[in-house]
């Protein structure tokens, strides 16, 4: 049987490393989604995820409301992203990384024009996602950006199947409407 999150947090607070690692498995993609929304760059999001997890590991003892582990961790991630943003212009670095990646992979990636077009589209989708209500912003980011399926999103957000269905119903419908504004009328697939 799957251990409840509350039990895991409690065990982790008493120094059980395996329990903390299980929490990492259950929340890493959610934190990554939050950081991707902030930075728009997959490598930086992963670096910051690492920073956030290490801070969480070292300060877990300070968490008083054990059932608020997720929101506590997301707050840490948010602060880590803000600090990183201060250190260096995030978007500047993202662009630099994109250029290096493009040079490194050469013929494996789409042509420069196509890649520029895709990057523009990615940035537009990010803007739409950032404007979504908090309620389903992370669920949508997990699905579209991180590529998570229903079961993964459920675990990462700590939701039941039914609760997530409701969220996705409202969120994805809104997302389709926003995407139509960007792209014009849909084409059947």
């Amino acid at each position: 049987m799957m251990e409840t999150e509350l039990t895991l947090v409690h065990r982790a607070q008493r120094g059980d490393h395996a329990a903390f690692e299980e929490l990492v498995r259950r929340t890493s993609r959610l934190v990554f989604a939050r950081l991707y929304l902030e930075t728009g760059d997959t490598h930086q999001a992963e670096d910051l995820l690492q920073d956030a997890l290490l801070i969480a590991f070292r300060t877990l003892g300070q968490l008083k409301e054990l059932d608020k582990f997720r929101s506590w961790l997301l707050r840490i991630a948010q602060n880590v992203a803000i600090d990183a943003g201060r250190r260096l212009s995030v978007h500047k670095r993202a662009l630099e990384r994109e250029t290096i990646k493009r040079q490194r992979h050469g013929d494996m990636t789409p042509g420069p024009d196509e890649e520029v077009e895709q990057e523009e589209l990615r940035q537009k989708v990010l803007v739409v996602l950032r404007s979504m209500p908090e309620e389903y912003r992370l669920a949508l980011t997990l699905h579209y950006l991180v590529g998570a399926d229903h079961e993964t999103i459920q675990m990462q957000m700590g939701l039941t199947n039914g609760a997530l269905r409701g969220l996705l119903h409202r969120g994805m419908n809104r997302m389709h409407a926003e995407m139509h504004k960007i792209l014009g009328e849909p084409v059947a697939c």
């Binding site: 890493s28 993609r29 895709q118 990615r122 989708v125 399926d149 995407m179 697939c189």
Partner: protein, 146 residues
Amino acid sequence: MSEHTWVQENLNAYVTGGLSAQERGRGEKHVASCSECTHEQADICETEQLMEGIFARVRPDAGLEDRAIHQLRQARKPRPSWMRFVTATAAVIVLGLIGGAVQMFALDGALPFQVAQVDGGRPMKWMAREVILGRSGSSRAVSRSR
């Protein structure tokens, strides 16, 4: 709830893989006979394909969690024993030096190093510069004219 309403509310869960096999069958049966739901499904499908196309290359891979856990383990690893020995030795030397200095101060009633004297009201930053450069007070003009 009518079949149509049920399908409308669950089409997104169908696409993300949130329905049971039985529910999927129920949805597919209705969609096959309803033009509105067919249209809706095509719409959802289009957004899915578009997102797949633009984000597939930048998504985190399956190893994300393993990498995170590996790095956490590295971070909490105790330092090797030779490193701890070097740190401890350095601490002993530093403490010894401080102890010696304090003792000299206690015996002589003076600081064990020379302190720059305030000289003709010159700005402190010039004095600091001269101390760093190892010049005497009179060399100020020379150092400035260089």
